[in-house]
Subunit: 377 residues, 2 copies
């Protein structure tokens, strides 16, 4: 879903010779239809270490958009090949365990480089740097269908199983400098968004690397949905529909989660041409020049009617292609494995990433408030 | 659940020698514990025609409280034995198909003789008779737990499978004298009830015999639940969780309804000593003496703390035992198969049934409004 947008972005302008690798011939066929003769495709199992090492050795930059289950193995292979890397595989493991190995080989690898995690990390860290003292970071993010249809008012632009995982895995937050854990779907709050109205936010486990890299005493990440979805999912979860324990039903033995997934996922799949949108707000508060200050970044993006690329694909692909280009050009050179907040120390890099998003039609709007003043940059 | 309350009611006062028949030794053992040596128990398969005929022949009256699936067969057997009958098996088929046979044999059989169907039919028909012209009948009824616990705010005092059936089977209503069909769970409305607050009513297929026996141009039956339950069940249904179509999940093949039932039913079962309550309102409107008139019957009943009998069991058992006593005493003699509205033509019978309920602590309160006057009888 995202890889084709990344390939098309890299092929545009002719600066790169682009090779797309996938295990699935059908996926490669779709890729050729989408990007035509501007790219080369090759059938490779990305979980196959030797094949990946051979494939990527000598590349100016490698972009990873694999299934999360093979994300860490793919990262390991690319580091072994000594190729610079930028990734949106969102592996469940901590990629930082390969940091020392990447440093040793002089490989720059930026992981979690999508919209959230990704731009959320970069903007949170960059905003915290702009303050004398950052007190809180709040990240609100959601991918939604434009049309709100009951009962779910929701479709998933990425693997729906990962969505249900978000609804069940305990969320880690930072309060008073300590990591605390809350049940997913808890602490609902309503927020207003121009062009869309009221959305409901709730705890999910989305801070990831920020838990360790950013020293701000209060941090939380919440998922945004249309009001009502959260309560329904809470009812499903509390009723036991997401349980992973095997259960006998007549002569069959099933996990409730598998049955619920089989029922829900077809309904959560976007149809051809159906519009999705992406909403994100990153709020950082603190003190600056003796005043209370608040920096708020807003993203509101819709599916591109010209290319047909979903908003999820656009907003996730572009951070990765923009940073990959920075790596390939040598402007970003930072041996080791890091998340995008590692780039927040260089204002010019942050500005470049935002400007490149704007050039692709994805607008991040900053509202700064200090004392009683407010201004949108 | 209901049979033991019926047996205890009949045994009280010593007017009857009571025999309880059931296929299950465990059920009979529970019955003996409950009613002690006042009743006789006998193990009989109520679907076995010969056994039932032998058992009931010569009885002063037979009460039926069987699983709905064998209700019609049981009725057939009792008619064949020539025994008078009063039943709450709520069979899915129309019992009236046995009307001619019962007439031929001179057998009085009153079916659907519980609270709803049952008292609802009797009160609707009796109220319609009190008006010069009845224009509408609305029946609102629900069995609920006293404690409202999320996500369901509901427990089932009878077979939960029948509850899900109510939530899926299309509801038949009468509008402008015509039977019309609406999806279950539709046309929600909020009603206020003293002692409990706001409840939500929605269409279910509960008019049964009234569709054919009562000539009133507008009739509807709605189920009452705590607000929120309806929307959740609608979401479950619309999501496909109540689907009866087989579906492959991994290596297993299951019906979603079976899996959902296996998950929900344990949560919908009343625990030992947990209080249930029964709420019913029957509203009949029309014209009387040149004025608009409105008769409204209210039932609000709780579990009996002394006997431990659930409110559902009490309110369902007593119409049946009271009418059975009327049949046994010869006060009700009406060869054929009929529902309780057939008794509405005799004011003394209706008053007797209400008084006998009152003696057992189940109170039906009538509010009459005519023009601008209102009075609670």
């Amino acid at each position: 879903m995202v890889g084709s947008v990344m390939a098309a972005d890299l092929a545009a302008g002719g600066g790169f010779e682009v090779t797309v690798a996938d295990r699935s011939p059908a996926a490669l066929e779709r890729m050729r239809k989408h990007a035509g003769d501007r790219i080369r495709t090759v059938q490779v199992d990305l979980a196959d270490r030797d094949a990946v090492v051979t494939l990527v050795r000598g590349a100016d930059v490698v972009l990873g958009a694999a299934a999360s289950a093979i994300g860490l193995q793919l990262l390991r292979s690319v580091i072994e090949a000594g190729a610079p890397y930028c990734d949106i595989s969102f592996m469940p493991e901590s990629a930082l365990e390969l940091d020392a190995e990447a440093r040793r080989r002089g490989v720059t690898a930026i992981v979690d480089c999508g919209v959230a995690p990704g731009m959320s990390n970069l903007l949170a860290a960059a905003s915290a740097r702009r303050l004398d003292r950052a007190e809180s970071v709040a990240i609100y993010v959601g991918g939604l269908p434009s049309e709100r249809r009951l009962p779910f008012q929701y479709k998933a632009a990425f693997a729906p199983a990962d969505v249900l995982e978000e609804y069940t895995r305990p969320a880690r937050l930072v309060e008073h400098g300590q990591v605390v854990t809350r049940a997913a779907l808890t602490e609902p709050e309503f927020l207003e968004f121009a062009g869309i109205g009221t959305l409901e936010a709730f705890n999910t486990d989305g801070l990831r690397s920020l838990l360790h890299t950013l020293d701000v005493p209060f941090m939380k990440e919440k998922t945004l949905r249309y009001p009502g979805h959260r309560a329904l999912m809470e009812a499903f979860r509390d009723a036991g529909l997401f349980d992973k324990t095997l259960r006998s039903v007549g002569s069959a033995t099933v996990r409730p989660l598998d049955v619920t997934s089989a029922i829900l996922f077809p309904q959560w799949t976007y149809g051809e041409g159906e519009e999705d949108l992406t909403v994100m707000r990153v709020i950082v508060t603190g003190r600056r020049g003796g005043h209370a200050a608040r920096l708020s970044w807003d993203l509101f993006d819709r599916r591109d009617p010209h290319t047909g690329a979903t908003s999820m694909a656009r907003t996730t692909a572009f951070p990765c292609t923009i940073v990959a280009r920075l790596i390939a050009s040598g402007r970003v050179r930072r041996p080791g494995v890091a998340a995008p907040e590692a780039l927040a120390g260089d204002d010019a890099i942050v500005e470049h990433i935002l400007a490149e998003h704007e050039r692709r039609g994805v607008m991040y709007c900053l509202t700064e408030e200090e004392g009683s003043r407010a201004a949108c940059a």
